[in-house]
C-alpha cells in the first residue's frame, strides 16, 4: 500500500516556556495509506484534534516531521499552503464557519482561494453540492436560513469543493439526529468511493467508527496505544475501557460472555459478526 501521509516522531507542546506548558502529543509515529478509510478515536482532550491539525499544516510540530506524498509539508511556505488544499479538514461543528451571503458563494470560497478560473470553480461548487445532497434551489439561499443538518452539509461541501485527496472530518455527525448521521456518513462514503480519496474520521463514538472504517488509530493522552483493524483493536477490550473509551455494545456483550467462561471470539462488533461467532460456537458444541 502506498503511504500518503506520514508522521515521524511528531510532538506538540502548547504554550512552551510558560507555566501553562502542556504536551498534547508525544512522539507520535504512524502512516496513513492512499485510499484507506481510517478512524481516529480518543476521549475529549486526548490530543486527537491537535493531531489532525498537523495533517494539513495548521499546527507546526514542536519536533518531528509531517510528510505528504513523501515531502515535508513545512519545507517551504508554498508547500504548506498547497497541502491545505490537498488535505481537506472539516472541523467540529463546521456550520459555525459559514459567512457568505449565499450557499453557492460559501462553497466556492475554497476553490476561489486556490486561484482556479470561473468555470472550474463553478463545476467544483456544483459537484460538491451534489455530493452532499444539496438541491440546486438551496444554492442561492443564505446559509443562515437553512436547518442545522443542511448547514453542516454546506460546510462539508465547502471542503470537498477543493477536491482534496485526503478528507479529514472531526466528529462530522456530532449533534445530528440518527437520519442526519446516516446520510452524512453515506455522503462521506460516496466521496471515498467516487474519488478514491483517503478518509480520516475522528470520533469518540466507537459504535459509529467501528462500522465505517477499515483501520483504527486510538489516541490517548498524546500517545497512540493501539492501531489496527477494528477487530484487532476491540480485542483489547479491557485496556480500551481503562482508557475511558466505550466499546461497541455487541463487543461488550461478547467480552462479558468471555468473562463468564464462554470460550468465544470477543472482537466482534456487528450483529452479523455476532451471529457468525455464535453459530460457530454452537456448531462446535454440537459436534
Amino acid at each position: 500500500m502506498e503511504t500518503i501521509l506520514q508522521l515521524e516522531h511528531l510532538s506538540h507542546i502548547y504554550s512552551a516556556g510558560t507555566p501553562f506548558e502542556h504536551s498534547a502529543l508525544v512522539d507520535v509515529d504512524f502512516s496513513i495509506y492512499r485510499g484507506e478509510y481510517l478512524g481516529i478515536i480518543g476521549r475529549t482532550g486526548s490530543g486527537k484534534s491537535t493531531l489532525i491539525q498537523h495533517f494539513n499544516g495548521l499546527l507546526k510540530p514542536t519536533s518531528g516531521r509531517v510528510l505528504f506524498e513523501g515531502k515535508d509539508i513545512w519545507e517551504t511556505k508554498e508547500r504548506t499552503r498547497a497541502t491545505r488544499f490537498r488535505v481537506g479538514l472539516v472541523f467540529q461543528y463546521p456550520e459555525y464557519q459559514l459567512f457568505e451571503e449565499t450557499v453557492y458563494r460559501d462553497i466556492s470560497f475554497g476553490p476561489r482561494n486556490m486561484g482556479l478560473d470561473d468555470t472550474e470553480v463553478d463545476r467544483r461548487t456544483r459537484d460538491a453540492a451534489a455530493f452532499v445532497g444539496l438541491p440546486d434551489a438551496v444554492l442561492q439561499k443564505s446559509p443562515f436560513e437553512l436547518s442545522g443538518g443542511q448547514k453542516r452539509r454546506v460546510a462539508i461541501a465547502g471542503v470537498i469543493a477543493m477536491g482534496p485527496s485526503v478528507l479529514v472530518l472531526d466528529e462530522p455527525t456530532a449533534g445530528l439526529d440518527p437520519v442526519g448521521v446516516e446520510s452524512i456518513l453515506s455522503n462521506i462514503r460516496d466521496y471515498h468511493q467516487a474519488k478514491n480519496a483517503t478518509i480520516i474520521l475522528v470520533s469518540h463514538s466507537m459504535e459509529e467508527v467501528a462500522r465505517t472504517v477499515d483501520r483504527l488509530v486510538v489516541v490517548s493522552d498524546g500517545h497512540i496505544p493501539f492501531t489496527g483493524t477494528p477487530r484487532e483493536v476491540f480485542s483489547h477490550g479491557a485496556e480500551l475501557e481503562n482508557l475511558g473509551l466505550g466499546l461497541p455494545q455487541m463487543t461488550r456483550v461478547f467480552h462479558r460472555l468471555r468473562a463468564l467462561g464462554v470460550d468465544i471470539d470477543p472482537s466482534v462488533y456487528t450483529i452479523a459478526q455476532a451471529r457468525a461467532a455464535i453459530l460457530a460456537k454452537l456448531g462446535k458444541g454440537a459436534v
Binding site: 507555566p19 495548521l58 499552503r81 491545505r84 472541523f91 464557519q97 459567512f99 475554497g110 465547502g158 471542503v159
Partner: protein
C-alpha cells in the same frame, strides 16, 4: 497561535495572605497606594512606596519574572515618556549639551527617571491586584464599594454584571476566533499577506461567524439567566458574602498610614 498567549489581567490562583484579602480591601489599598505614589517627590518617598510594593509582591509569591513579562507591552510607552521628558524639561543651570533644537538639562534625566519609576510602580501594583484577585471577586468588590451610588439611581448592579459577563467571555471569544481562523485557513484563507485593504477583506470570513456566534451566545446566556429567575439586582443575595477580617483592617490602616507619611514628607520638601 499568538492569540492564545494574550494575558488580560490574568489571575494566578493561590492561597497567600494577599490572595485571601477581601477584594474591597485590595481595591481601596490600590487606590491609596496610587495616591501615595503621586504624592512622591524625592527618591526617599519613592523608595518607601517601592518597598511597600516589594513586600506585597513577596507575600503574594508571584514570581518577579511574571510581572516583568507583563511589563513588556507598555515598554514602548515608558520609553516614549522618558524621551519626551529628557528632551523637553528645562532646568535652571546650563544645559548639559545641545541635541539639534533641544537643550538637554540634568533635570530632564531626573524627571524622566522619576516618571519611569512612577509608571512602573503604577503598573506593577495594578498587576498585583489582578494577578491575585479573580475577576468575579473583583467585580463583586467593585459593586459593593460603589453600592452607595445606587441611592442616586446609578445602575451599579447592571454595570458590574455587564463587567463580569464581559470578563467571563473574553477567553471564550479568543478561543472561538482561534477556531474559526483555523477553519478558514483550512479552506485556503490567507490572513497574513497582502496590503491593508486585502487584509481587511480577508477578515470578513472571520468576523461574520464570530459576530453570529457572539449573538448566539448572548441569546443563550439571557435564556439561561431567565431560567434561573434572574431579574436584576433587586433583593438579590450572594452565595459568597464578603466580610472584612482583622487582616483587612490592618491593611487598610497601613494604606492610610502610607498616604499620610508620604504627604507629610512632601510637605517638608522630601
Amino acid at each position: 497561535m499568538a492569540l492564545r498567549d494574550i494575558t488580560l489581567g490574568q489571575y494566578f490562583p493561590g492561597h497567600t495572605i494577599v490572595h485571601r484579602l477581601d477584594p474591597r480591601t485590595k481595591l481601596l489599598f490600590t487606590i491609596l497606594f496610587i495616591v501615595a505614589l503621586f504624592l512622591c517627590k524625592t527618591i526617599v518617598s519613592y523608595a518607601i512606596v517601592a518597598a511597600v510594593l516589594a513586600i506585597s509582591i513577596l507575600l503574594s509569591r508571584i514570581k518577579p519574572a511574571t510581572i516583568l513579562r507583563g511589563m513588556k507591552p507598555v515598554m514602548l510607552i515608558i520609553v516614549i515618556t522618558a524621551m519626551l521628558n529628557i528632551l523637553y524639561t528645562t532646568g535652571e543651570g546650563t544645559p548639559l549639551f545641545q541635541l539639534w533644537i533641544f537643550r538637554i538639562y540634568p533635570e530632564g534625566f531626573l524627571t524622566a527617571f522619576y516618571m519611569i519609576l512612577r509608571i512602573m510602580l503604577l503598573i506593577t501594583c495594578t498587576f498585583l491586584l489582578t494577578y491575585t484577585t479573580s475577576p468575579i471577586l473583583l467585580t463583586d468588590g467593585l459593586e459593593l464599594l460603589l453600592s452607595p451610588l445606587k441611592k442616586l439611581h446609578a445602575p451599579i448592579h447592571e454595570l458590574s454584571m455587564m463587567m463580569s459577563i464581559a470578563l467571563r467571555f473574553i477567553p471564550t471569544l479568543i478561543e472561538e476566533t482561534d477556531k474559526i481562523m483555523s477553519a478558514q485557513k483550512a479552506r485556503g484563507a490567507d490572513f497574513e499577506t497582502g496590503n491593508l485593504f486585502q487584509k481587511a477583506r480577508a477578515l470578513v470570513p472571520l468576523l461574520v461567524p464570530l459576530f453570529i456566534s457572539a449573538f448566539r451566545r448572548a441569546d443563550e446566556l439571557a435564556i439561561a439567566m431567565e431560567c434561573r429567575c434572574y431579574h436584576g439586582g433587586e433583593g438579590r443575595t450572594r452565595l459568597r458574602q464578603l466580610r472584612y477580617t482583622t487582616a483587612d483592617y490592618w491593611v487598610l490602616a497601613a494604606g492610610l498610614a502610607l498616604c499620610v507619611l508620604i504627604g507629610v514628607l512632601r510637605h517638608f520638601g522630601w
